[in-house]
């Protein structure tokens, strides 16, 4: 479902100040929307608005915080209480030790480390190779560059889930090199570089950087690599942030691919997602929920801290495409 959060690119660097000004304008409650403020300020409008607002807050809190409440509280129950009929809303007896036991039984420390290792390795490789490729397509424009770019874009039409079988066989025995990558981090890192969407985002951003800057750097004798490091990258922070979020989230949320290439009942190399699912097959309900809760903590905390950056990164300037 990563595609759902996928966005058209952020605007050109020159649009920076203008955009932030507009965003401030949007937050401003004076902006005219479907229903005018004047209408809401009439006595009847005000009452109706209050009712709707309360209803929305209550319903949304129930719908979205409700399940989260059970995610974190049901792990505190004892094994009996977790499958008792009828279920209790508030744990009758609180067993915080369930969390500790779930942590060690599911090997969550190890799973967490693996996932971080895979996610940031994939991020590093994507930042190196995809940025370099997008820079070449956008600024260096080599012979046949457009053909290669088009061939990469064409892969967007064929999502990788469809290709799991040949991809799995390829990773199990790399053609020409005859390497078996199954079980090694490279099985997640290298395929993640083949990400046409990120290259497309980066290229569109680089396209908006004036060629005059490139020419000026070349006249001063800067090599393409130096130009990339000293001029292009510092101007591209917003898009690098967006691409980084996409890269990490994609590895973090993926299930089928890590199940195939890092799975096999071995917590030594499984991801968090696959590992807790696999351990859930043989553990009682209260441990499953406690482990799910622990697994959810890192991303939830990360989101709550960086929510402004994440949400604006996902939507900023997305609608001009």
């Amino acid at each position: 479902m990563a595609g759902l959060t996928a966005q058209a690119p952020v605007g050109p660097p020159s649009a920076g100040p203008r955009r932030s000004a507009r965003r401030r304008g949007v937050r401003d409650t004076q902006t005219r929307t479907l229903i005018s403020s004047a209408q809401l300020n009439r006595p009847r409008g005000r009452i109706a608005y209050r009712i709707v607002l309360t209803l929305v807050i209550v319903i949304f809190t129930l719908a979205f915080i409700g399940p989260m409440y059970f995610l974190f509280s049901d792990g505190l129950k004892s094994t009996q209480e977790a499958i008792q009929v009828p279920p209790t809303i508030i744990p009758a007896h609180v067993h915080p030790s369930t969390y500790g036991t779930a942590w060690s039984r599911f090997g969550i420390g190890r799973l967490l480390f693996n996932t971080l290792y895979y996610a940031f390795g994939a991020l590093a490789l994507q930042l190196i190779f995809d940025v370099a490729a997008a820079y070449a397509f956008s600024k260096l424009r080599p012979v046949l560059g457009n053909v290669v770019f088009f061939m990469m874009l064409a892969t967007l039409m064929i999502p990788s889930t469809v290709l799991i079988v040949p991809q799995y066989l390829t990773v199990a025995s790399l053609p020409l090199l005859h390497l078996n990558l199954i079980g090694s981090p490279a099985a997640i890192w290298l395929p993640s570089v083949a990400n046409a969407f990120n290259i497309f985002l980066l290229k569109r951003f680089f396209d908006s950087i004036p060629d005059d800057l490139m020419a000026a750097a070349a006249i001063d004798g800067a090599s393409p690599l130096r130009t990339l490091r000293k001029i292009v990258l510092p101007m591209s922070r917003p898009i690098l942030g967006v691409v980084s979020i996409f890269a990490v989230v994609a590895v973090w949320k993926d299930f089928l691919w890590p199940l195939l290439v890092e799975g096999g009942y071995s917590p030594e190399r499984e991801t968090l997602n696959v590992g807790i699912w696999q351990a859930a097959q043989t553990n009682p309900q209260n441990f499953i929920i406690a482990a799910s809760a622990i697994a959810a903590v890192p991303t939830v905390v990360f989101f709550l801290i960086f929510q402004r950056n994440i949400m604006s990164g996902l939507t900023a300037g997305s609608l001009k495409g």
Partner: protein, 320 residues
């Protein structure tokens, strides 16, 4: 090539400066191209190994068979085999049912939620965080939680239904087969809860880009709230609506993890999806794993998705 250029230079001016100029320019061009290709090489190798080659290999494998380690051509046999498998049709029916239900629920609900949130003057930040929070959960966490809620014996959902004196349900394990099946609706509910945040935020951003004057003008013309949605909001967000529609269809057609976890690793066929079936053909049938049938099914799904996204691109280019 270089020689010809140098010779040309000789014929024209035959001065040393001309020669070095021509040679230098060509050398620079070659060097520039080489370094540009150097920047490309990492990504190109990864695409070649993990994207382009697998596409070709999937098509080739779908026409092959492997017996006792010997691979031979099989013609259309893999295709006739999967077309004769009742589970194949079941999986397609389920996938299309999921796609349609996920569109009705997961496409319309975020749009109206976004319209609602955009009208509120308070608590907007809080509500946006709420809607997006489940997107940040690892899918296994969210789905194991829903599997717990859905449990027919001790699950929370049946308890709530009992409390308000409604008949309880088997949820994902429901055996009924009339479309829409209870089992599939359960999968859609979990999937929508997990994923609607992304679409909602994109719609919200789209709504905020609608110029307020349009609403003002519509109001002056006497348009009510619903006709304002119909004639201002929807046309103004048409582009993003159609783009998300296409993305969502492609994403839901590849549904895997929801059915896989909610049915304990894909047991039974009530909610099996096409990608679940590819997985079963290739990896799950113990001892009789068949990569070739799985490839044939992969090619069928690939064609369906390619035709869909090709059609979408063609239509949207036509319109704009």
């Amino acid at each position: 090539m270089a020689d010809t250029l140098v010779r040309l230079g000789k014929v024209k001016g035959s001065s040393d400066s001309m020669r070095s100029l021509a040679g230098g320019r060509l050398g620079r061009k070659v060097r520039r191209n080489l370094s540009a290709h150097g920047f490309l090489i990492g990504a190109v190798i990864c695409f070649a190994f993990f994207s382009w080659y697998p596409i070709a290999r999937e098509i080739i494998m779908s026409f092959q068979k492997t017996q006792l380690g010997v691979t031979t051509w099989a013609g259309w046999k893999n295709y006739t085999r999967i077309f004769n498998d009742p589970t194949f049709w079941q999986a397609w029916r389920n996938t299309l049912e999921f796609t349609v239900l996920a569109l009705i629920v997961g496409y319309a609900v975020p749009f109206f939620v976004a319209i609602l949130l955009n009208e509120l003057r308070h608590a907007r930040g809080y509500l946006r965080i709420l809607v997006y929070l489940p997107v940040m959960l690892p899918p296994a966490s969210a789905l194991l939680l829903f599997a717990y809620f859905y449990d027919p014996a001790y699950g929370l959902f049946n308890h709530v239904l009992q409390a308000v004196h409604l008949p309880t349900s088997q949820w994902v394990q429901s055996p009924d087969t009339t479309i829409p099946t209870t089992a599939m609706i359960s999968v859609v509910i979990a999937a929508t809860w997990m994923n609607m945040g992304g679409a909602t935020l994109i719609y919200l951003a789209a709504l905020q880009n609608i110029p307020g004057e349009l609403y003002e003008a519509a109001e002056l013309d006497g348009a009510g709230v619903f006709s304002r949605i119909r004639h201002v909001t929807i046309p103004q967000t048409r582009l993003i609506l159609s783009m998300l529609l296409a993305l969502q269809v492609v994403a839901t057609m590849q549904m895997f993890v929801e059915a896989f976890i909610l049915t304990n690793g894909g047991s039974g066929t009530t909610v099996i999806s096409v990608v679940n079936l590819i997985y079963q053909y290739a990896f799950a049938l113990s001892g009789a794993s068949n990569y070739n049938s799985a490839s044939a099914l992969g090619v069928v799904l690939m064609l369906v998705l390619a035709v869909f996204s090709g059609g979408y691109l063609w239509l949207s280019r036509d319109r704009d």
